[in-house]
């Protein structure tokens, strides 16, 4: 990135709070329920109804504020944010304007090998809007209000992020914390975590050309990163040409991988907030604060420090392991019964993470027992199974069927062959089948031996002990010379 320019990024993250019912009514929150089945007069915005705050949503919000080292406000109230849109049945969203649930707080991220503190501005409670569908028919849009009234905590960062990578780091850390304290499932596919980004590119702090641009529709951390990269490039190019950057809202198009101006949203910024008369004010009591503080689990950062210290892991490995409490617990269970901590780490951040990424799964969905991984590792360490075969053939099968690794290995005939008699036969076969390669070796081309080793591995379907094959092959070829 061009260091001539100053980039500042701020993020607004909406976290869906993990309560059973909506924030102001008793409708159940159930993802995937039939359209408009989880609605009542309150969340439909029918006249004459009154919202009542869900105590659990309030506690979860408070818990998040405390875990993020924010200060709970002594007294909070709710306000109406007025705008017209079909996904908002009342014509206003109940949110918090000037007395939010929490103020301040901070998050630490790792950037270019050093720690950087990103301060938080505030965190407030609000209700979610409904869902609009545009592709059911060409002539009309369709509204499902199941989501309307779902409790959200909006967490606003100070504009202290400087690169898309830092924004990505911030989100990863925020998700890890929120998930570990049980405030939200943080399931991205279910929209539990949604993000808007503010970005401005300027020549220097006093430059008036670069204005803040808000980007919406960022549904994944990858989209946040891509949208910020695109937007920084777009704004930098405009500044190079001496153009002013208007303050506006832009929409990220994941298919086209670009941001588009949303002219229609300009006027909508006039939200005419005023206090929600249907809800009384709330005092956050010290008793409730103490209760939440006492029940907060070890936070990811603390856990990472302990892992590094107690298991002798690198900061990097410890950081990766503690981003999900499911993975962290799994690692600890494995490590308690097996001294090869680094081997466990390599399996978790290697094959296991790769599998999760590819299948878009959360770790918990694997239902992998710690003993199973340890048994697999022991098969490799004792030489009965090659690492490659363990990773590529046995492990995926174990994940799919939850069977014992040794059983899978035996059934599929994948046990590593180290027996010299069996290996010698394959080696003799390879040498006989490739006289040209053998003569290459004789004339001094050492790499020819590797080709023959490859032939043996192929013949054995990967079960031959590669170290042993190399050793025996070299011996055999030397005898021929």
């Amino acid at each position: 990135m061009n260091s001539k320019y100053l980039t500042t990024i701020g993020l607004e993250v909406h976290v869906q709070l993990n309560s059973k019912t909506k924030i102001f009514c008793g409708c159940e929150i159930r993802f995937g329920a039939p359209p408009n089945s989880q609605v009542c007069p309150v969340c439909l915005g029918l006249p004459g109804v009154l919202p009542v705050l869900n105590h659990q949503a309030f506690r979860l919000g408070l818990r998040a504020v405390l875990a993020l080292r924010g200060t709970p406000s002594k007294r909070i109230k709710f306000d109406r944010k007025n705008y017209y849109y079909p996904d908002l049945p009342k014509g206003y969203q109940i949110s918090q304007y000037d007395c939010p649930l929490g103020q301040g707080g901070a998050l630490e991220i790792e950037t270019e090998g050093r720690l950087k503190k990103i301060r938080l501005t505030r965190a407030h409670l609000e209700e979610d809007a409904g869902k609009l569908m545009h592709d059911i028919s060409a002539a009309a849009s369709h509204v499902d209000l199941n989501r309307a009234g779902t409790p959200l905590l909006e967490i606003v960062s100070e504009p202290e992020l400087e690169t898309p990578e830092e924004a990505y780091q911030y989100l990863t850390h925020l998700k890890a914390i929120i998930k570990s304290i049980g405030v939200s499932e943080c399931n991205m596919e279910k929209g539990h975590l949604r993000c808007d980004a503010n970005v401005s590119v300027r020549k220097n702090a006093s430059d008036l050309l670069g204005k803040k641009v808000e980007i919406k529709n960022l549904n994944s951390f990858k989209a946040v990163k891509a949208a910020l990269q695109y937007e920084i490039k777009r704004q930098t190019e405009a500044l190079e040409k001496g153009e002013a950057i208007p303050q506006e809202t832009r929409l990220w198009d994941d298919l086209k991988q670009k941001t588009l101006s949303m002219r229609s949203k300009e006027e909508a910024h006039d939200y005419r907030y005023f206090p929600e008369p249907d809800l009384v004010p709330f005092f956050v009591t010290q008793e409730e604060i103490d209760r939440e503080l006492a029940s907060l689990p070890e936070l990811p950062k603390e856990k990472a420090e302990r892992f590094a210290r107690d298991y002798g892991l690198t900061t990097y490995d410890a950081g990766l392991l503690t981003q999900s409490s499911g993975i962290a617990d799994f690692f600890e269970d494995c490590a308690s019964g097996f001294p090869g901590h680094k081997t466990i780490v390599n399996w978790v951040i290697g094959p296991i993470s790769a599998y999760l990424n590819e299948a878009s799964l959360e770790f918990e969905a694997l239902k992998l027992a710690p003993e199973t991984l340890i048994r697999l590792i022991k098969l490799v360490e004792s030489g009965q199974l090659s690492f490659q075969t363990a990773k590529e053939k046995v492990f995926p099968e174990v994940l799919k069927t939850h069977r014992d690794p040794e059983e899978v290995m035996k059934e599929k005939g994948l046990a590593q062959v180290s027996d010299e008699g069996a290996l010698d036969a394959w080696i003799a076969e390879a040498i006989q089948a490739h006289p040209k390669v053998v003569s290459d070796f004789k004339s001094g081309k050492e790499t020819a031996a590797m080709f023959l080793v490859g032939q043996v591995m192929k013949k054995s379907r990967g079960t031959a002990n590669p170290g042993k094959v190399q050793e025996l092959m070299k011996k055999k070829l030397k005898e021929l010379v």
């Binding site: 009514c25 008793g26 009309a140 808000e214």
Partner: protein
């Protein structure tokens, strides 16, 4: 959007209807407010309403003269605080029941005129 200022002890009642630049009643733009509320007025009615609303605002503006030093702000007229409900599931409404009130539906959905973001 930029987070609003946080007040701890003083209580903002939200931005006044009149322009916040301090222009007061004269800057009040009824046409703008009406369009935000999706209300349509004829130009001649607008003139009448504008002067009527301006009168109301001016009247309410008198309140600004009252000295409120040391007075606790009120955001709610009832002497109640911390009214919560527990996180218990209550039955939802039957879709046929509430769709009776809807001008237009399609299956289980409410149907509204096409809204597509104006992208450029």
């Amino acid at each position: 959007m930029t987070p609003p200022p946080i007040s701890n002890d003083s209580e903002a009642i939200g931005p006044p209807l009149a322009d916040e630049t301090g222009g007061g009643v004269s800057e009040f733009n009824l046409k703008h407010i009406a369009s935000l509320a999706r209300l349509h007025f004829e130009e001649k009615d607008l003139k009448v309403f504008e002067s009527q609303v301006a009168g109301i605002l001016k009247f309410v503006d008198e309140l600004r003269k009252v000295n409120v030093d040391g007075v606790e702000p009120t955001s709610h007229p009832l002497p109640l605080t911390n009214v919560f409900r527990e996180d218990e599931i209550k039955p939802s409404l039957n879709v046929e029941e509430f769709q009776k009130n809807s001008p237009q539906v399609r299956g289980r959905f409410f149907e509204v005129p096409k809204v597509i973001e104006d992208k450029s």
